[in-house]
């Protein structure tokens, strides 16, 4: 009998790592890893940070 496959966990480190790498781009994977390692209160908190980090405008 096959064992049950573990489920993906929201708000886990891997979830945050995936979110950060997706938003920052694969060229910034190490940065995404570091950001995901921080103590985020929620995924929305992380998204808000990533948005402010990437939402730059050249004048």
């Amino acid at each position: 009998m096959a064992s049950k496959q573990p489920a993906w966990r929201e708000d886990s480190f891997l979830d945050y790592f995936n979110e950060a790498a997706t938003q920052l781009g694969y060229s910034q994977i190490t940065l995404a890893w570091g950001i995901a390692s921080s103590d985020w209160s929620s995924k929305e908190d992380l998204r808000s940070f990533l948005k402010s980090l990437t939402n730059t405008e050249v004048i």
Partner: protein, 159 residues
């Protein structure tokens, strides 16, 4: 009648608590009660160290020991001037060392080797992340694992 106890009587004056307000002009006197005390009772040699540290912060009512410059070039108390410090305008204490030592021009030893660049450090970090690749590949097979994570793991495998 006001009696000025500080004039002409010598010795330290310890202010009352709260400290009295200084009188103006020639009648002014210290209000902080700062007195240089001689440390005793410490292990051998440490009394002198403490007293040296005290004397490096000059007090207006005492004569500070050590080299001092006169006139406009004299360093302020904040610049040192205590017995163990080197005056700003003194002769060099490293006469064999060129003044350009430590820079990338002129005689003397050059600048130290630069530290790792961002790109080099990034590669090291990436290799460290790839050590977790077996676990990441395992997580990519979890049920409900997002496709973006599977793509990420696939990218990491080929880096």
């Amino acid at each position: 009648m006001v009696r000025l106890v500080a004039e002409g009587q010598g010795g330290p004056r310890t202010p009352r608590n709260p400290a009295p307000v200084s009188a103006p002009g020639s009648m002014s006197r210290r209000t902080d009660g700062q007195v240089m005390s001689q440390m005793t009772g410490m292990p051998y040699g440490e009394n002198a160290d403490f007293n040296d540290m005290q004397s490096s912060a000059p007090m207006s009512a005492t004569n500070v020991q050590g080299p001092r410059l006169k006139g406009r070039g004299a360093p302020s108390a904040g610049m040192g001037g205590g017995p163990s410090s080197t005056p700003l305008f003194s002769e060099t204490q490293r006469p064999e060392e060129p003044v350009t030592s430590g820079s990338n021009f002129g005689p003397g030893a050059g600048a130290p080797e630069p530290k790792q660049t961002y790109g080099q450090q990034n590669n090291v970090d990436l290799e460290n992340i790839k050590r977790y690749l077996p676990d990441l590949m395992q997580a990519a097979t979890f049920s409900d694992a997002p496709s973006s994570f599977k793509a990420l793991v696939s990218f990491l495998r080929n880096v």
